[in-house]
Amino acid sequence: MDISTTIAAILTLAIYSFLYRDNPVYKTAEHILLGVSVGYFVVITISNTIIPKLIIPLFVDGELIYIIPALLGIAMLLRVTKQFSHISRIPLALIIGVGAGIAIPAYMQAHLIAQMKATMLPLSNISNIVIIIAVLSVLVYFFFSRKHEGAFGVTAKAGIYFLMIFFGSTFGYTVMARISLLIGRIQFLLGDWLGIIR
């Protein structure tokens, strides 16, 4: 058993102590986790983004176009000043505008057109028929500009039942995955750390 395993085990138990109540041991582990993770991400950002994607192209390869993202990055840092913090809105607007521009067609492709194609199934078996009925009734449930009454309401109600069946099965499936994570942690504590189990 090495020292890193012992530290990991103690921190695991410290986090689990929250199950009883908030306490100084949990607070310590929480602050260590936060501090270490922020430090880690700062280093990752410098080594994986700032150096290879800004410093090297700009100062080593001499690609002057990289001055633009450098200036935008500096503009973002101006948030910490009171006088010039408004300048940070320029890179923020750019991030949101470009991000939305990229995300919306991708969303349209993955969440609408591909899903529509996947639902255009031949009505040749019960499974396909159920899928199409479920999709259409769920679509009806998400109608906002019409009251859910009469046949429309019945269809919408069927839609919410289909949704709940989906959520129930997802819940059960995911809980099983979480239990396997718990088992992994218990194996770490009892096996890797204490050596009680193999």
Binding site: I113, V140, F142
Partner: protein
């Protein structure tokens, strides 16, 4: 398209490369800029009678390339099974001419070489395989703009009540009465995500109310850019409500990118500051149940909305109210009563009719054995 083929033995390889014998009628190597891509890619294909006859004889196939301008030596781009007939080279630079050759070789030393003409790669402006996405976006835009225009002209649209959204007003009021803060979390999505953008719209409406009621709004973030945008959104909302003095920038802050570091810290904030209301509106992953369970344990009223269908199941179990799927995207329209958003909701309903109709038509045609309609929705 070419063109040159050799039967040689390895000791004479270099010498004989210089005297390649053309067999264009029997074998061909074709190189071209990979279509519909962002550049940096050349496709190499080969086939023909000579290659087909030789596949049984050779055991190794090397794809080699050379930068024409530098007159550099040949470098191996890939080693493939002899049965392959296509190679996509994604490691080239744009606008630089490359020559390719494919080298079939046998253990005894016999080799067969085909060499291509120079070819350059370049990015394409438009991916023609995604024309259907463009058409879809145009249809959506036309319908949405029409209803936004109608709404701005003053036309009123009926919107059915949504429980989770009506509860937001009550939840803010409850926090005010109890003298406790409201905790808002947008989860772990980046600013570019549609769900995070929608979350900022809801945040604006919630912040306007907390500004009016002078209720503290705590917003811990796991993304620095989202934190910066959220600070702007909340400050704007306080300004709009006429109470910029009530805005506390320290209440909208960045924690960490780490998923469970974020969950641990938000849990700590919940048990220490005991918010009366928790709003989980955004993109959530495995931390959803950890947050919602802790919020439940401190007795906070909880409202959740996310586009992640897997995490919604956990929110349904642990929260008092939840917004499913598009209810979440409709939330900002409901809360702000902004005619632009209300008009877009009406337009979205028409889009659902079109989508439903297309699905029914596609299914009927598929049943009849006609597949062309569903193929229109295929994406390359």
């Amino acid at each position: 398209m070419t063109d040159k083929v050799l039967y040689i033995h390895k000791p004479f390889l270099i010498l004989l490369i210089l005297t390649l014998i053309p067999f264009s009628a029997q074998a061909a190597i074709d190189t071209y800029d990979t279509p519909n891509d962002g550049g940096n890619s050349i496709t190499v294909t080969w086939g023909g009678e000579v290659i087909a006859q030789s596949r049984d004889k050779f055991t190794s196939l090397d794809i080699q390339r050379q930068k024409v301008a530098e007159s550099a030596g040949w470098e191996t781009a890939a080693v493939l099974p002899v049965t392959d007939s296509v190679f996509v080279d994604d490691s080239v630079k744009d606008n630089i001419p490359y020559k390719y050759r494919i080298v079939f070789s046998a253990p005894e030393g016999e080799a067969l070489i085909f060499e291509s003409e120079p070819v350059k790669s370049s990015p394409q402006f438009f991916n023609t395989k995604r024309l259907n996405v463009l058409i879809g976006v145009i249809i959506c835009c036309v319908i949405l703009f029409y209803y936004i225009y109608e709404s701005r002209k003053g036309k009123k649209f009926y919107l059915r009540p949504i429980g989770g959204l009506q509860a937001i007003d009550d939840a803010v009021g409850r926090a005010t009465e109890m003298g406790k803060p409201i905790l808002y979390s947008a989860g772990r999505g980046k600013m570019q995500r549609v769900a995070t953008i929608a979350s900022m719209n809801v945040l604006s409406s919630v912040a306007t109310k907390t500004a009016e009621y002078n209720t503290p709004l705590i917003f811990p973030n796991s993304e620095p850019v989202v934190a910066a945008v959220a600070q702007e959104v909340v400050y704007e909302a306080y300004l709009k409500a006429g109470h910029p003095d009530r805005y506390n920038p320290d209440d909208v802050f960045y924690l960490t990118d780490s998923q469970f570091g974020y969950a641990a810290a938000v849990d700590g904030i919940m048990v220490r500051r005991k918010p009366a209301t928790n709003l989980f509106i955004g993109t959530f992953e495995a931390e959803s149940l950890i947050l919602a369970e802790t919020g439940n344990s401190i007795g906070a009223i909880q409202i959740a909305g996310t586009d992640s269908t897997i995490q919604l199941a956990f929110f349904i179990v642990a929260c008092d109210y939840f917004l499913i799927g598009e209810e979440y995207f409709a939330a900002s329209g409901y809360l702000s009563k902004d005619p632009m958003v209300l008009g877009s909701l009406k337009g979205q309903d028409w889009l659902k009719i079109i989508v439903g109709g297309a699905i029914i038509l596609g299914a009927v045609l598929e049943t009849a054995g006609i597949g062309f309609f569903s193929k229109l929705f295929g994406i390359g």
